[in-house]
Symmetry: C2
Subunit: 352 residues, 2 copies
């Protein structure tokens, strides 16, 4: 009892059963005011009886609209994208747009093909979260439809909208916070040489300078990951004038930094204060309680969708670059430096 012939009933089948023309069925289903209540009910009943579902392909073919926007997400493992995605979908829904999500993949060719399929589906707009578009991909996309890049800042030339948090300002907040606690030997574990990491580094350096701590600027190479944060922190702690506080490029790396501190026998925050960046939910876990600079992730998603939808609705082009302000969230990994600067450094972890 399950070798069902999965052929879907069409509008004609409904029409036949209801004893009306297919045109009338169409009208009735869009509940046009000009169909007689009697025939409307007949149509509805017939449709229900047959389990009729309109065929989206046929509809979009004639309507020339899909009311769909494509979303490219670099990496679903990174929860910041999930938060953004959520905001974005809610807002799109409000404007009566559907979203279809493509997840970035190791296999660049497959990824590219997937994007191509999106265009063949005739998505009306695109939003990318974490852009690592195939070379020329950005312009290829923007040639086909309006697009908004989230979490990326575009340099000058191309006409793509973007929306991002102000990394420079965020980094300054982190430093300001630590300075307000009385720290001065504040080091930075970087997130690599991508543009986001670079901006955070810049903000760090600027803030230190502004506070008259230019001499204490010290950056250690890290990465946007647990491991990267661990490695950078090991090096930072081994340096001659050991920092009393660390600004780490993102939350994952900050968690790695906490592990490195523990391995070095340092207590957080007593012996070492740590500030992360991003505000992922991991940071708020009880056993972590990381002080961090939180991006307005949900809001960034909302704004991105809102702007894209107005563009689509008003048919107006034009590019906008929105930059939003992050917010410091103080938890339990920061505190004033301990009064007694431990004179003999405790056992350092083996450098790996």
């Amino acid at each position: 009892m399950s070798t069902v012939a999965r052929s879907h009933p069409t509008i004609r089948d409904v029409a036949a059963l209801a004893g009306v023309s297919k045109s009338l069925v169409s009208l009735a289903l869009q509940n046009s005011p000009r169909v007689a209540t009697e025939s409307r009910e007949a149509v509805l009943a017939a449709a229900a009886a047959l389990g009729y579902r309109p065929n989206a392909a046929a509809r979009t073919l004639v309507a020339h609209r899909t009311r769909t926007i494509g979303v490219f997400v670099l990496d679903l493992r990174n929860p910041i994208y999930v938060d953004i995605l959520e905001g974005l979908q809610a807002e799109a829904r409000r404007h009566d747009y559907r979203t279809i999500v493509v997840v970035g993949s190791e296999d660049r060719a497959a990824e590219r093909a997937e994007l191509e399929k999106l265009m063949e589906f005739r998505v009306e707009g695109m939003i990318t979260l974490g852009h690592r578009l195939p070379e020329g991909g950005a312009t290829a996309i923007s040639a086909a439809c309006p697009a908004v890049l989230v979490g990326a800042e575009r340099r000058g030339r191309d006409h793509l909208s973007s929306i991002s948090n102000d990394d420079v300002a965020g980094a300054r907040m982190a430093v300001d916070h630590l300075v307000s606690y009385g720290h001065s030997r504040i080091s930075h574990v970087t997130g690599g040489d991508n543009s986001v990491a670079l901006r955070r580094r810049t903000g760090y350096a600027q803030a230190m300078t502004d506070h008259g701590l230019a001499a204490d600027i010290a950056c250690f190479d890290g990465e946007f990951s647990d491991e990267g944060g661990y490695r950078g922190t090991v090096r930072a702690l081994a340096s001659t004038s050991r920092p009393t506080a660390l600004f780490v490029a993102n939350d994952y790396a900050a968690v790695g930094a906490m592990a490195a501190a523990a391995d070095a026998g340092l207590k957080v925050p007593e012996d070492l204060s740590i500030v992360g960046y991003d505000g992922i939910s991991l940071a708020s876990l009880r056993s972590i309680g990381l002080t961090t600079v939180a991006q307005p992730l949900h809001d960034m998603g909302v704004k991105a969708a809102a702007w894209l939808c107005t563009q689509l609705e008003d048919g107006m082009g034009g590019t906008r670059r929105i930059r939003m302000s992050p917010q410091l969230v103080v938890r339990s990994t920061t505190a004033p430096p301990s009064p007694s600067p431990s004179p003999s450094p405790p056992n350092l972890p083996a450098d790996r």
Copy 2:
């Protein structure tokens, strides 16, 4: 220079430019062997010149196939679904199927509508990760197309395929591991009363009984979350015969358990061993290093897609229930119980 008229060129435009008929263009683009090389090149050149992209809607309308499978994901915040999703997409791609993802939402109506759209798109099959389908949704879906439920075990009646890990066996692994370390006072912090949590609890009880530890069975109400694990653990530690080891219902809750242990002044694993469940990447972070029962997440995704695709390709119906074996991953939160069972319990955290 950017008020582009975004009207897409059609196959006719290409034909006109190449000086051939639209039929030939169609043939050439599917590179049929029977078009002259000369005209093929003309077509390709014209298509490139115009930036032609086939219209997926038109294609599927006539082809009656979308080569697309719909995926419903309950909650992207839970990384186990992301792992499954990844495996699933890779496998689907191998079979030349595309996937389109719908994310669960608070707004049940919106969620339902989204699912409905999926059917209107004529996805050929469905996979659901973490089923919380609108009532009757499961059967509604299976009436429209073949479906596979991942991470759910179906009871008897309906004809839906499912694939899950063997929670009972996994829970036994956790207990066996702790027993092999010499623990006997092993308590369980539960994951609530959903079916998955219930099965894990059953496995725990069975294993305890098998080891002759039936008298030591003790379950404390928790939840699949940081908070839930914390609360359950606080209660477990307050019990008269304090456990030396804890089997916690999932990894998030286990992380909460670690926090509770720390708040109680207990060291993990010296004073308390903890085993989680799921094998999410959070568990492998340096500062956590959780011993856990890992589900073969990626593989579950692969198997789900593989089975669905064969069903679609061979047109054969029939339901399968696959149950896969989880695997114990030993890290640093488990150890033999400390020889001196601390006589006076240390300061307990305030119950909150």
